[in-house]
C-alpha cells in the first residue's frame, strides 16, 4: 500500500464506530475521496482538528487495492478557516459549497479548478462579511467548471442574443435562457432581467480575486437565486439541506 499525499478539504465527517471516523474529502489530486480515520473519535492526539468540517490540510493516506475507503494516515493543517464557525450563516454558506461539490461530483472525479474555487471561496467568507451574492457566485462558477454551464447569452430555442429589447426567462429544466417569444409551453420558468443575466455572466467570468467587489441589486439577487437554485434542484434531484437551513435561519432572524 503506497502512501499518497494531496491537498484536501473536509466535506463531511461522520462518526463510524466507537472510535473511528469516516471522512469525505475533496482533494486537489484525487477528487472526492472517502477515508477512514482509525481512533479519531476517541483520541485527538493524532488528527487534532484536521478532520473538522472545512479543514484544509495536506492529507496523507494509504490507498486500498479496490479503491474503496482509503486509510487516513495523518493530516498537516494548512488552514482551518476558524472564523467561519463564529457565525452560523457563514457555516451554512460554507456548508452549501461543500454540499454542492459532494452532490454534483462523483468519487475520484479530479478537478483542480473546482478545488481552488472551494478553497478561495472558503477563504473569502472566512475573511470578510458574508456578501449576499457569494452563494450565487459560487453556484455559477462551480456549474460552469463542471460542465453544467447554463446558457446565459442567447435563447436556447431561437438563438437570439441577450439584449435590453427583449424579455428573457430562465428554464431550470433546460439549463438556460429563452426569449419571450419562445417561452410558451416550456414548463416552469423564472423571470430573469437582462441586468441579472449580465451580472451572472460577470460573476462567472471575472477573476476570482475581484468577485468580492460585485454588488448584486435586490432584484438581481432575487432573480438569480430563484433561477440557479431551481437549476441545482433539478440537477441534484433535491433541495440541498444547507440551502433550506439558510432560508430558515433568515426567516427566524426576520421574526426577532
Amino acid at each position: 500500500m503506497p502512501l499518497h499525499r494531496t491537498e484536501a478539504i473536509v466535506v463531511r465527517s461522520m462518526d463510524f464506530s466507537e472510535s473511528d471516523k469516516i471522512v469525505t474529502f475533496f482533494t486537489r489530486g484525487f477528487g472526492k475521496l472517502r477515508g477512514i480515520a482509525k481512533g479519531a473519535k476517541k483520541s485527538k492526539k493524532r488528527f487534532g482538528n484536521s478532520l473538522e468540517l472545512f479543514s484544509h490540510s495536506n492529507l496523507f493516506f494509504f490507498e486500498k487495492e479496490n479503491l474503496g475507503l482509503a486509510r487516513i494516515n495523518n493530516c498537516n493543517m494548512i488552514e482551518t478557516y476558524a472564523r467561519i464557525q463564529k457565525d452560523i450563516k457563514k457555516v451554512a454558506c460554507g456548508s452549501y459549497f461543500l454540499e454542492l461539490i459532494d452532490g454534483l461530483m462523483g468519487e475520484r472525479e479530479k478537478n483542480a479548478a473546482v478545488f481552488s474555487l472551494l478553497a478561495d471561496s472558503l477563504s473569502l467568507i472566512n475573511c470578510q462579511d458574508l456578501g449576499t451574492g457569494i452563494a450565487r457566485i459560487f453556484e455559477i462558477r462551480v456549474l460552469s467548471l463542471l460542465g453544467y454551464q447554463p446558457q446565459l447569452e442567447r435563447c436556447l430555442v431561437c438563438g437570439q442574443m441577450l439584449s435590453n429589447k427583449e424579455r428573457f426567462w430562465f428554464s431550470p429544466l433546460r439549463g438556460g435562457i429563452v426569449c419571450n417569444t419562445c417561452s410558451t409551453n416550456l414548463g416552469k420558468l423564472s423571470p430573469t432581467s437582462t441586468g441579472t443575466l449580465r451580472m451572472l455572466i460577470l460573476a462567472r467570468d471575472m477573476e476570482f480575486k475581484k468577485v468580492h467587489r460585485l454588488v448584486f441589486s435586490k432584484q438581481a439577487l432575487r432573480e438569480s437565486e430563484d433561477a440557479l437554485t431551481s437549476f441545482i434542484r433539478c440537477q441534484m434531484g433535491k433541495e440541498p439541506n444547507s440551502m433550506r437551513f439558510l432560508k430558515k435561519i433568515q426567516n427566524l432572524d426576520n421574526m426577532v
Binding site: F16, K42, L51, F54, I88, R244
Partner: protein
C-alpha cells in the same frame, strides 16, 4: 441484503441490529447468532428492556433529558442551584458532566446541534424551549457546553447572540478539551477544569 443461508426471522433480526449506530453486517450477524444461542430467559429480558425504554422513558418537559419521571430528578432537586443552566447537546454529555460531581446547577439538553449539512435548524432542536425557560427571570448564568466541533462552536455562538440581549451571563466551557474533541469521551479531570475555567462569550 439478506443471506439465504439463514431463515427469514434471523435475517430480520440482523436487519434490525444493523440499523444501530456503528454496527455493520458482520457484527449484526454475530450479535444475532449470539442471541439465538442464548437462553430464552436472556432473550426475553433483552426484548423487554428494549420495549420498556420506549414505554417508560420519555423526555423531561423542562430540560429534555431522558427520564421516567416528569419533571426529571435533576429538575426536581431543590438542593441544586436553579440560577444556572448548563446547555449540552446530548444526554451522554449530561452524564459525562454529572460524573465529575463538580457541577450543581441545572441542565438543558438541546437534543442535537445546529448542522446545515444535515438540515438541523434551530427549530429541530430545543432552542425555543431554552428561551422559554429563560423568560422566568431567575436564571443568572447559562453555561454552554456543546462539543468543540465546528457545529458545536457555531451553536454556542448562535445561542449566545440570542441570550445575551436578555441580560443573562453566557459562558462557554474552557477547552482543555481539544478542538475536534467530544465531551462524552473527555476524562473527568479535564472536564472539571473545563467547567471551572469557563469564559464569557
Amino acid at each position: 441484503m439478506s443471506d439465504s443461508r439463514f431463515a427469514a426471522p434471523i435475517n430480520r433480526l440482523i436487519a434490525s441490529l444493523k440499523k444501530l449506530p456503528g454496527i455493520g453486517e458482520k457484527t449484526a450477524t454475530r450479535l444475532a447468532l449470539h442471541i439465538l444461542n442464548s437462553s430464552r430467559k436472556e432473550a426475553e429480558e433483552l426484548a423487554r428492556s428494549v420495549t420498556d425504554v420506549k414505554d417508560k422513558i420519555s423526555f423531561c418537559p423542562v430540560c429534555f433529558n431522558f427520564s421516567d419521571r416528569s419533571p426529571c430528578e435533576v429538575c426536581r432537586d431543590e438542593t441544586r442551584d436553579d440560577k444556572t443552566i448548563c446547555v449540552v447537546e446530548e444526554p451522554a454529555d449530561f452524564l459525562a458532566i454529572e460524573k465529575t460531581g463538580k457541577y450543581r446547577g441545572k441542565y438543558h439538553i438541546l437534543q442535537g446541534v445546529l448542522s446545515p449539512l444535515d438540515g438541523i435548524s434551530p427549530e429541530e432542536i430545543k432552542v425555543r424551549e431554552l428561551m422559554e425557560r429563560l423568560r422566568c427571570g431567575k436564571i443568572k448564568e447559562v453555561i454552554i457546553a456543546t462539543n468543540p466541533s465546528v457545529e458545536g462552536e457555531a451553536t454556542a455562538i448562535y445561542l449566545a447572540k440570542l441570550i445575551k440581549p436578555k441580560g443573562i451571563k453566557v459562558t462557554r466551557i474552557a477547552y482543555g478539551i481539544p478542538v475536534g474533541g467530544d465531551i462524552e469521551y473527555t476524562d473527568g479531570d479535564t472536564l472539571s477544569r473545563a467547567m471551572e475555567g469557563r469564559r464569557d462569550i
